[in-house]
């Protein structure tokens, strides 16, 4: 059995969890393993049909009042109990903020290795080989895990979704025992800034700005451009962030975030090596830069050599028109 941890935010399943379910189904099919899903919290029954439609044959609802708010200790204790009972061959998570917080905690509790932020899983001679970017994508590491169960987190936006099918499955509710003394830290609140934006790690399209944006006020141009494109967000290079033009949560690169969107549009970004490392696994790259020798053009599928301030307005209009068709 493969077990997939399903992450919910505000009562909805995260798309990245469905990607993990999809990949578990593909690899499980190769290895003859069923896929089961695990959720922590309460009142989650409404989510079951969606989980079944993405290939799980069983859903385990781990219920306990103490799992209402996320805590790494509470969730790891609950999943550990389930793992001890089921002995799954593998446990998969999405490499989201929660998955990256929780999976290593569970791995240490189980005393097993963990493959973090994987972008590929191959089955060779009946075992799984995990591939993951290292040095922010300047190199790739393929590894195998010597311990069981095999634990891995999968990078969002990389693994394709399976076609959902109308399908039923078995729901198993489990009361998990969590000693109160076990939970010494928990999420007390979720704080949102106004104008909630999509995170660069989750967006399908990133509209990114660098030193060539010349100042913080010009990032408004990128925000307007992003507003035209569905599932898009604004990103930035390190120099734009270090100049204080935009918040560090938008930074793409080795000291920021590594991203793999369908489309990465770089405006006024020259392409320092640490920036290229963080975005060169994007499916398509567009670069707009005044300098024809900028290194970003070496990785871009489409380039425009010119003044970004003259390109952005007609680009926005053309995109608006194309997307309305």
């Amino acid at each position: 059995m493969f077990l997939v941890f399903i992450e919910t935010r505000e009562g909805k399943i995260k798309k990245s969890s469905l990607e993990v379910l999809s990949e578990a189904q593909r690899r499980g099919g190769e290895l003859g393993e069923d896929v089961a899903a695990a959720l922590c919290g309460s009142n989650m029954d409404c989510l079951n049909p969606e989980i079944f439609s993405y290939g799980a044959s069983k859903v385990f609802l781990l219920e306990n009042d103490q799992l209402g708010a996320y805590s790494s200790q509470g969730y790891a204790t609950a999943l550990h109990q389930l793992a001890q009972e089921l002995h799954p061959k593998a446990i998969f998570f999405a490499a989201t903020a929660m998955g990256k917080d929780l999976a290593p905690r569970l791995a240490a509790r189980l005393g097993v290795g963990l493959a973090s932020d994987c972008t590929g899983i191959a089955v060779k001679d009946g075992t799984m080989e995990f591939t993951r970017p290292i040095y922010a994508g300047k190199a790739f590491l393929s590894l195998s895990l010597k311990s069981s169960p095999q634990l891995a987190t999968l990078r969002p936006n990389v693994f394709p979704l399976v076609e959902p099918r109308n399908k039923a499955g078995e729901v198993v509710k489990k009361d998990v025992a969590i000693p109160e003394s076990r939970i010494k830290g928990l999420v007390a609140d979720i704080l949102r800034e106004k104008g909630e934006e999509m995170d660069v790690t989750e967006a399908d399209v990133i509209v990114s700005g660098g030193r060539g944006m010349k100042g913080p006020e010009n990032f408004a141009l990128l925000k307007e451009l992003s507003a035209v494109i569905p599932r898009s967000t604004v990103g930035a290079s390190r120099s734009a962030v270090d100049s204080g033009w935009i918040g560090h949560q938008s930074q793409v690169g080795q000291t920021g975030k590594t991203v793999s969107p369908n489309l990465y549009m770089a405006f006024g970004i020259s392409g320092a090596i640490q920036h290229l490392a963080g975005m060169s696994s994007s499916k398509f790259i567009v670069a707009v830069n005044k300098d024809p020798d900028a290194p970003i053009f070496k990785v871009a599928d489409y380039g425009i050599v010119g003044d970004l301030f003259q390109v952005i307005p007609p680009l926005k209009e053309a995109l608006k028109k194309a997307l309305a068709e």
């Binding site: 790494s72 790891a76 903020a97 990256k100 917080d101 290593p104 905690r105 791995a107 240490a108 290795g113 963990l114 493959a115 932020d117 993951r132 970017p133 290292i134 040095y135 922010a136 994508g137 190199a139 790739f140 393929s142 590894l143 895990l145 010597k146 311990s147 010494k184 830290g185 928990l186 007390a188 979720i190 704080l191 949102r192 909630e196 999509m198 995170d199 790690t201 989750e202 399209v205 494109i229 962030v241 560090h248 949560q249 080795q254 000291t255 590594t258 369908n262 489309l263 398509f284 053009f297 871009a300 599928d301 489409y302 425009i304 010119g306 003259q310 007609p314 680009l315 053309a318 194309a322």
Partner: protein, 260 residues
């Protein structure tokens, strides 16, 4: 407050990575090495907490003798003590192994720690595993990817970055906190600090002294191979006026790339 900060030596983020012939490790020759940038935020936060509340800041690295350089840097920034835990192996890309070493070191050498600070991940292996794993092995709560930290007596509050929002995490001490860019602005070493750091002796602790068995330090991760990412080809340069180029770009994105 007793604060222990864990730091790692990594290749400079400006460097190109090359892979050796056996495809099992990177070529270190010609690379320059730095303290992992995320760890600098952890060191700075420790120093600020000490300045506000008093106490002791100890900086620890698990690594080879070459890691002494980054420990000296931390001393020059203002850390009180530094300790090297000597690892006979080079990069193993295995978080659990490092976490076991750290958890044992805390139990044996720093049992009265209030706070263990890390960078959110070492820029290199990019595992982001060790802080959470060490927390679990020690039974401590954790707050990862933190951009704001407040300690009040035996209680901590941290803001941690999640997708498009912030989680406010409350926890009791002792605890593990991992730092993210935005937490603070790390200070530079002062000349006085550099001179003082030169005179400081950095104790070296071995795995044997920590009572770590070979079983405990055996990697759970087997490196199958390292490889370079698929090379990207430079694509089309779209010529013409800004208006024409913008329209042509949208046409290509729609009809050729099919991404919009």
């Amino acid at each position: 407050m007793n604060i222990v900060v864990f730091v790692k030596r990594v290749p400079d983020t400006e460097s190109k990575i090359r892979i050796n012939h056996e495809t099992t490790s990177i070529v270190e020759e010609g690379l320059s090495f730095i303290i992992s940038p995320n760890d600098e935020y952890a060191v700075e936060e420790a120093l600020r907490l000490k300045e506000a509340k008093g106490g002791q800041v100890t900086v620890v690295s698990v690594g080879t003798d070459e890691s002494l350089v980054i420990l000296k840097k931390c001393l020059a920034m203002g850390a009180d003590e530094a300790v090297l835990i000597k690892d006979p192996a080079k990069e193993t890309y295995d978080g659990l192994r490092t976490a076991r070493v750290i958890a044992r070191a805390v139990e044996k050498k720093f049992p009265s720690s209030d706070l263990l600070l890390f960078g959110k991940q070492a820029v290199g292996a990019d595992n982001a595993q060790v802080p959470s794993m060490a927390a679990e092995l020690l039974g401590f709560p954790q707050a990862n990817v933190v951009i704001k930290l407040e300690i009040d007596g035996n209680q901590g509050t941290a803001h941690r970055e999640i997708e498009g929002a912030m989680e406010k995490v409350t926890f009791s001490l002792p605890a593990v906190v991992s730092a993210q860019k935005g937490l603070n602005e790390p200070r530079y070493e002062t000349l006085k600090g550099i001179m003082a750091a030169k005179r400081k002796v950095i104790p070296v602790v071995t795995f044997e002294e920590l009572g770590l068995s070979q079983e405990e330090t055996a990697p759970q991760v087997e490196v199958v191979r390292l490889e370079m990412p698929p090379a990207r080809q430079a694509g089309k340069i779209i010529a013409g006026t800004p208006e024409d180029a913008a329209r042509e770009l949208v046409r290509l994105l729609r009809n050729e790339a099919k991404v919009i």
